[in-house]
């Protein structure tokens, strides 16, 4: 086969299949016309109307330092545009959770528009909100004072390049399976039962708040039913009228009643899910479905077996459901095509994976979902496929085939055996851990009973080297950040140097954990989310909101940036200064303080002669393993005192290695200030020279069981790797080997540097070109030169 055959244009690749039914094609076009269409899911702000009302919480968004300067104006804008909600007279007499529940109920049931699009079969349109925090004057004053204190510290840590500390919503898997199975009505019955056993008035009111929130979902659905009936009455097309009548019937039934048919299950799931985004005022980021193909399967089976649906009809319903998730992006839509959707929110769907005895649980719905993914080519929902030892060769080959055909990565792969070890390590019983799901990008989380707080707190691991080489002081500002670990010129041995790095790591973890705990406390005290709490196991029983640590498992994840840069830096000092003595500490320090200007020979020596993580080089990999397990275990010692949530480690670097780069001094691996740090658990850009198998083995040596969140690992493959069926089998074999030898999560970019260069030169021709950047998709032509260069610079494993 020739190279031309294997490289169709990007436009062809990222367009939908021409097999899509007319209905779906039109709905897909509707979404993509967000710069022109009249229906929009831009956020609607709702206020109690008090002069002190707050609609916005900085801690929800504080993991994104790029927007810190805009936070006050976003807050102001929401307040200015907010719709006042009429509230009952006794509103202010209730506890905060109940006030939030009443507010949510009133806004959804009396103010939220109910739009049904032409042709759609699954309904529920507007869900982006900015809801009043429903605080009274005294609470507002206290909250804002505490928030100011926390934000001052968060901004300082961000400014110093230490990291970020937030309490981000989303990143959770509500117990949707239970809603489908017993209906919200069934959940309410359980809560009434629990309430009967509780004597505290506060506890009882809290449970009432959960119940009222669920009634909000019921009553909003009834409004959609009514809307569908109105449309049906005016509908001249017989077929469409029938559909609208069926939609009305279904919306009168679910999510309140248990679902029976596949259509009912999808409608129930969508409304339940979209209202979590509405309740948290957070558009989709990380709010995930869990093992979707498992809990939906009985409904699919029922509808197929009863002859009520053909497989094709089920697929069309599924496609209608699929598109809905993308409207999360409407809040960015006015920026125009592409720019509006330049990052992925990560409403994840977990597919496949093992059962309690390691058996494979893929089913026909899993396969059907793969067809939909392939034919729809949409950003949301994002599928994650769980692979494990007993996955069938047929399924694995299909996965490899889709990866091979797509540019960028249509889904991410999570590896059960290694993921489960991490969950067991953090305390989840082994007999439950097999049933984990995935949130956000790749973060392992239990379903329906775990707020794992992924991406809440993010640490720049590389900073520890900077501090260890500068007696605890930030090199740019001279600010004393960590403890005084001494002048590096006095370090007599590698052990002394390593100890200084470890001491600084501990100090950095402490700074971020303390700041993260402040954000966590703020949210716990002032931002209950009764609707989400109603969907999380244990909250009703404990009388505690999910944000207070009310569910069964409660973690805050500290995501580590730059482990390879850290490891390479420490390995370089170990080898070059203390073992081979090719460099004195004095000269190294001079070179680093000069940012290697005038020390090109030193920089080159460090870059080319020191061992590098990512090459299956035991020397570098051992240093990396030591540092990785060290900081991960150190992190696990900490808890957020107010909520009791325990900190755990993760490697999801998002794009932090870009903004942190100028804030981090030159490092002993030969990196200059401003050059990017490594992403996820990948090697430093361009330093993994031995191909994907070596890179996979290095990652496999990191001791990732101490990193329960999981670790982002990207390999970029040239299209030549997958140009024939024989090569696709080799890719499948590579994935099977990853199950044994690799880490917890892998994404593949099958794209070559030449294509990316061409896209830089002619952005218009490649406006559709998607690439995957540590767990999310981005339009390559819109991500800015810096990140473009970074993607090109990553080693392209030419095969």
């Amino acid at each position: 086969m020739t190279i031309e055959d294997s490289r169709p244009s990007s436009v062809q690749i990222w367009s939908p299949s021409d097999q899509l039914p007319e209905r779906i094609r039109k709905l897909r076009e509707h979404f993509y016309s967000f710069d022109k269409r009249k229906e929009t899911n831009e956020p609607i702000a709702f206020t109690t109307g008090t002069e002190w009302d707050e609609l916005y919480s900085f801690h929800d968004w504080a993991n994104e330092p790029a927007i810190y300067q805009f936070l006050p104006s976003i807050d102001g804008t929401f307040k200015a545009m907010a719709v006042k909600v009429d509230l009952p007279e006794d509103y202010w007499e209730h506890g905060l959770a109940m006030r939030r529940a009443i507010f949510f109920y009133e806004a959804m049931v009396h103010y939220m528009p109910t739009i049904i699009l032409n042709g759609e079969l699954i309904v529920g349109f507007n869900f982006n909100t900015a809801l009043s925090k429903s605080l009274n004057k005294a609470e507002t004053k206290k909250r804002n004072k505490e928030m100011e204190k926390w934000f001052k510290e968060a901004a300082r840590l961000s400014r110093l390049g230490i990291g970020t500390a937030s309490a981000a919503p989303g990143h959770i898997i509500p117990n949707y399976a239970k809603v489908l199975r017993i209906g919200m009505k069934g959940i309410v019955e359980e809560y009434e039962e629990i309430k009967r056993g509780k004597t505290s008035a506060e506890h009882r009111e809290f449970i009432d708040a959960l119940i009222l929130s669920l009634e909000g979902a019921r009553d909003l659905s009834l409004r959609y039913a009514q809307k569908a009936e109105e449309l049906a009455a005016d509908e001249t097309d017989q077929v469409r009228r029938g559909e609208l009548e069926e939609i009305a019937r279904i919306c009168r039934k679910v999510p309140w009643e248990p679902a029976e048919t596949f259509w009912e299950a999808l409608q129930s799931l969508w409304i339940t899910h979209m209202l979590v985004m509405a309740a948290e005022s957070y558009p989709g980021a990380g709010l995930s479905h869990g093992r979707w193909d498992q809990y939906l399967y009985p409904f699919y089976r029922h509808s197929i077996d009863s002859g009520e649906l053909t497989r094709e009809q089920a697929k069309e319903l599924l496609e209608c459901y699929w598109i809905k998730h993308n409207y999360a992006y409407d809040f960015q839509g006015r920026l125009g095509i592409n720019q509006g959707i330049n990052s992925s929110f990560g409403q994840l769907i977990t597919l496949g994976g093992c059962g309690p005895n390691g058996e494979d649980l893929t089913n026909d719905l899993t396969w059907l979902a793969l067809e939909v993914i392939e034919e729809m080519n949409l950003l949301e929902p994002k599928p994650n496929i769980r692979l494990h030892r007993n996955v069938s060769q047929e399924f694995l080959t299909r996965v490899a085939e889709i990866l091979a055909k797509a540019q960028g990565s249509p889904f991410l792969l999570n590896f059960d055996e290694h993921s489960i070890e991490g969950l067991v390590w953090e305390g989840i019983p082994r007999e439950e851990a097999w049933d984990y799901g995935i949130v956000g990008c790749l973060e392992n989380t239990m379903q329906g009973k775990d707020r794992s707080g992924t991406v809440d707190v993010n640490i720049n691991l590389v900073k520890a080297v900077e501090l260890a080489l500068n007696d605890g002081k930030d090199m740019a500002t001279g600010e004393q950040v960590g403890p005084r670990t001494g002048d590096p010129l006095t370090f007599k041995s590698y052990e002394q140097f390593l100890h200084a790095v470890e001491t600084q790591l501990k100090a950095l973890i402490k700074l971020l954990v303390d700041c993260g705990a402040k954000a966590d406390t703020l949210r716990a005290k002032y931002q209950p989310t009764p609707y989400l709490s109603a969907l999380m196991d244990g909250c009703a029983e404990r009388g505690k909101d999910v944000n207070e640590g009310g569910t069964d498992w409660n973690f805050i994840t500290l995501e580590g940036m730059g482990i390879a840069t850290l490891a390479d830096s420490v390995a370089a000092v170990k080898k070059m200064v203390y073992e081979d003595k090719r460099l004195t500490m004095d000269k190294l320090m001079k070179a680093i303080h000069a940012n290697y200007e005038g020390y090109e020979d030193v920089r080159q020596l460090l870059k080319t002669r020191a061992p590098k993580f990512g090459n299956d080089d035991d020397y570098a990999d051992e240093v990396a393993r030591h540092l990785s397990t060290f900081w991960a275990k150190e992190t696990f010692k900490h808890k957020s005192p107010y909520t009791g949530r325990r900190f755990r480690a993760g490697y999801l670097s998002w794009n932090y290695y870009v903004p942190l780069a100028p804030l981090t001094a030159a490092t002993p691996d030969g990196r200059r200030r401003g050059e990017f740090m490594s992403g996820g658990v990948g090697a430093v850009q361009g330093m993994d020279k031995k191909g994907p198998t070596a890179s996979i083995r290095s990652v496999g040596k990191l001791g990732l069981e101490t990193v329960p969140n999981g670790a982002s690992h990207t390999i970029t493959l040239s299209p030549s790797m997958v140009r024939t069926p024989e090569h696709i089998q080799k890719l499948a074999a590579l994935l099977r080997a990853y199950i044994e030898a690799g880490g917890t999560a892998l994404q593949t970019n099958i794209i070559d540097a030449a294509t990316l260069r061409a896209a830089q030169k002619d952005p218009d021709a490649y406006s559709n070109l998607l690439v995957r950047v540590t767990g999310y998709n981005a339009y390559f032509t819109q991500i800015g030169r810096e990140l473009q260069e970074e993607i090109i610079a990553r080693t392209e494993h030419s095969l």
Binding site: M1, T2, I3, E4, E600, D601, V602, Q604, L605, T608, R609, D616, K689, K690, G691, P692, T693, A694, R697, S718, M721, H727, Q729, K730, A733, L734, R736, A737, E740, A741, D752, A753, A754, H797, S798, L799
Partner: protein, 321 residues
């Protein structure tokens, strides 16, 4: 007593040198002098010193280190006095950037086996293994046999990529440790073979018959080089030879010429006859495959980049090796 040998490179995740995911090791030294050689750095059996201009930062650590004073940095670049240079490698060791490079790493067989076995899990899942290549693998017969035996003892699938030019005895002594032979048949006309590769082909053809006699699975490979091996008659003759003599052949690969090795020639200061040659035309490759198929050769495959009429395909730069 351990056996030592020289290699130029170890390439992991190799997907083009036999079945599955493989690690390919390139041994140094070759009896042939093919004009189109792609691994020109592996021809000379001795270590070679080379200078990479684009990596040099002019710090002259090499010049200061050289015990023979064999190096001079001129406007045109580094001049290596090959008369004075003993290829001791001190300059390469001193160079901070790897601009001075010693091609040819000395390994003992046990350590090399250990290194090559690193990707065993990938070999298992993919049906891959290790491919011994070069240069000519059997130019260092004792070393090659020791490595093949060591791999075999670990249960690793071994492919021997070879030109076939050595004594029958050498071939027979390695075969017990080999699972698959990747065997080159380049030109059937012996005189032309001698002209373009430096040796006649009778011995190669007779060794091919040895492979058939011991029934070892074999893939025949023909590099399709414009003006050298790409005429219909040549491919027809090779195919006929396979059909008539080699029932053990499982696959026939036609490997289209490319120009990616041009920099290696420059680096070694060698002239490259095919410097400006165009890629093979897609239609020609298709025709040649058809010819081989029609003669009755099983499993004819073609690979490599080709051009279509009026279209120029740019060749991406790849790492040497």
């Amino acid at each position: 007593m351990s056996v030592h040998g020289l290699i130029t490179n170890i390439q992991r995740t190799s997907t083009e040198d036999g079945p599955g995911i493989r690690t390919t090791v390139f041994l140094k030294g070759c009896p042939l002098r093919c004009e189109w050689c792609h691994n020109v750095e592996a021809i000379d059996p001795k270590p070679q010193l080379v200078w990479h201009g684009q990596k040099c930062i002019g710090d002259q650590a090499c010049i200061r280190t050289c015990p023979e004073h064999a190096l001079t940095l001129t406007r045109e670049g580094m001049v290596i006095d090959r008369e004075m240079c003993t290829v001791c490698g001190s300059c390469a060791e001193a160079c901070p950037t790897t601009a001075m490079e010693l091609i040819g790493e000395r390994w003992n067989a046990e350590d090399l086996v250990e290194e090559l076995a690193r990707d065993s899990v990938f070999f298992t899942t993919s049906g891959g293994g290790v491919t011994l290549s070069g240069g000519e693998t059997l130019y260092q017969p004792e070393f090659a046999i020791a490595v093949a035996r060591g791999l075999k003892e670990r249960g690793i699938h071994v492919a021997l990529d070879t030109c076939g030019y050595y004594s029958e005895k050498v071939l027979r002594s390695i075969l017990p440790y080999v699972d698959l032979v990747l065997y080159d048949l380049k030109i059937m006309d012996s005189e032309k073979h001698r002209k373009h590769t430096g040796v006649p082909n009778e011995r190669i053809l007779s060794n091919a018959r040895v492979l058939a006699e011991v029934s070892i699975p074999t893939w025949i490979r023909t590099p399709v080089i414009p003006g050298y091996t790409d005429d219909d008659d040549n491919i027809r003759a090779i195919a006929q030879f396979i059909k008539d003599n080699m029932p053990n052949v499982e696959r026939y690969d036609l490997l289209a010429f490319n120009n990616m090795c041009v920099d290696k020639y420059e680096m070694l200061g060698k002239r490259y006859a095919l410097k400006d040659a165009a890629l093979m035309d897609k239609k020609t490759m298709e025709r040649l495959s058809r010819i081989a198929r029609e003669i009755g050769v099983p499993n004819v495959q073609r690979s490599g980049m080709t051009r279509e009429e009026g279209k120029i395909v740019r060749i991406p730069q790849m790492e040497a090796g």
